[in-house]
């Protein structure tokens, strides 16, 4: 994803520099001046569309917990499901344990936690992140998630 983003940014920058400011048809009142502001806005809009749009859509489709529940209910033969069925059959029959295992593996891969025997421990990176997140949760008066 990062490579796709960087490739597209380089392409957009090349197109921006290679084309005329008015693209041959824009009225002067529709041009943003100075040029650096126009270029900066182009990069900002593209980055927002990528990180807030395409990447979020990808993440939601790939990891969205609530969305996967909706898809599981939609794909079942039965018209309705209960919580116990979802615990056992979440994500096309893999179950909730599989889902949480994926989260733990993600935290291990990104080195926020370490596994030592049967224990999961915060790394120093995880400690720092957890401290910030806990401070935000306390500031927002959020209850500990059960």
């Amino acid at each position: 994803m990062t490579l796709i983003y960087l490739g597209c940014v380089i392409l957009a920058a090349l197109i921006w520099f290679a084309t005329s400011v008015d693209l041959g048809f824009l009225a002067p009142s529709l041009l943003i001046e100075p040029g650096w502001l126009d270029f900066s806005l182009m990069l900002f809009y593209f980055s927002a569309a990528f990180f807030g749009g395409a990447l979020q859509l990808y993440n939601l489709a790939d990891r969205g917990f609530s969305l996967r529940i909706l898809i599981d209910v939609e794909e079942t033969d039965s018209d309705a499901v209960d919580a116990d069925w979802l615990v056992a059959n979440y994500a096309g029959g893999r179950g909730l344990t599989w889902m949480y295992g994926k989260r733990i593996e993600g935290l291990l891969e990104t080195k926020f936690v370490d596994r030592k025997a049967d224990m999961i421990e915060l790394t120093s990176k995880g400690e720092r992140a957890a401290a910030v997140l806990l401070a935000i949760h306390r500031f927002l008066r959020l209850e500990p998630q059960s």
């Binding site: 009142s29 809009y45 615990v87 935290l107 926020f112 421990e121 959020l142 059960s146």
Partner: protein, 171 residues
């Protein structure tokens, strides 16, 4: 001194977006319904942004320039919103974030089993099902849950996206 109209528009957008963030935080701290409060406060601040830009530009610009400034204001505000919302929802609802916080509260280490007992549970599913019912994607029928037409459309849309990107079961 003449202020660049685009720069002044961006400053207006930034100020109103900061006001929106403050409103959203106040709503979260006072336990307003998160999604509704988020959308309403953003809609109000976005409208205020456009009114401010129009009011500031009206005496100086007209026609196409005014339209351009309004378009830049709307687009910039929308971009800030799509960057802000995923960051907020990650902090509010992510299980990975909740795991880090639980570990921190427990002194930095817990058995793997206790994490599974906490997060891979029926209670977590029940909690999300209630959120989906409140959002209008599911209806509760005794102890079972059925999709609404809105929920079915969303599920089919994302199932298509998953197939399109070859994402596997995911979730």
């Amino acid at each position: 001194m003449t202020v660049n109209p685009v720069l002044s528009t961006l400053i207006v957008v930034a100020i109103w977006f900061l006001i929106f963030i403050c409103l959203h935080i106040v709503g979260l701290r006072s336990r307003q319904g998160n999604a509704q409060w988020l959308v309403r406060s953003y809609a109000a601040c976005c409208a205020a942004t456009l009114v401010t830009v129009a009011a500031l530009s009206m005496w100086r610009d007209s026609g196409q320039t005014l339209l351009l400034l309004l378009f830049i204001a709307l687009l910039t505000s929308a971009c800030l919103f799509v960057l802000y919302v995923p960051a907020v929802y990650t902090i509010l609802t992510s299980l990975s974030v909740a795991t880090l916080i639980l570990l921190r509260r427990a002194g930095g280490r817990l058995t793997e089993k206790s994490l599974y007992d906490r997060f891979a549970t029926r209670g977590l599913v029940q909690q999300r099902l209630c959120v989906l019912v409140d959002a209008g994607y599911l209806v509760k029928d005794a102890c079972r849950f059925r999709l609404t037409s809105r929920g079915r459309a969303l599920a089919r849309g994302f199932a298509f996206i998953k197939r399109f990107w070859c994402l596997g079961p995911g979730g």
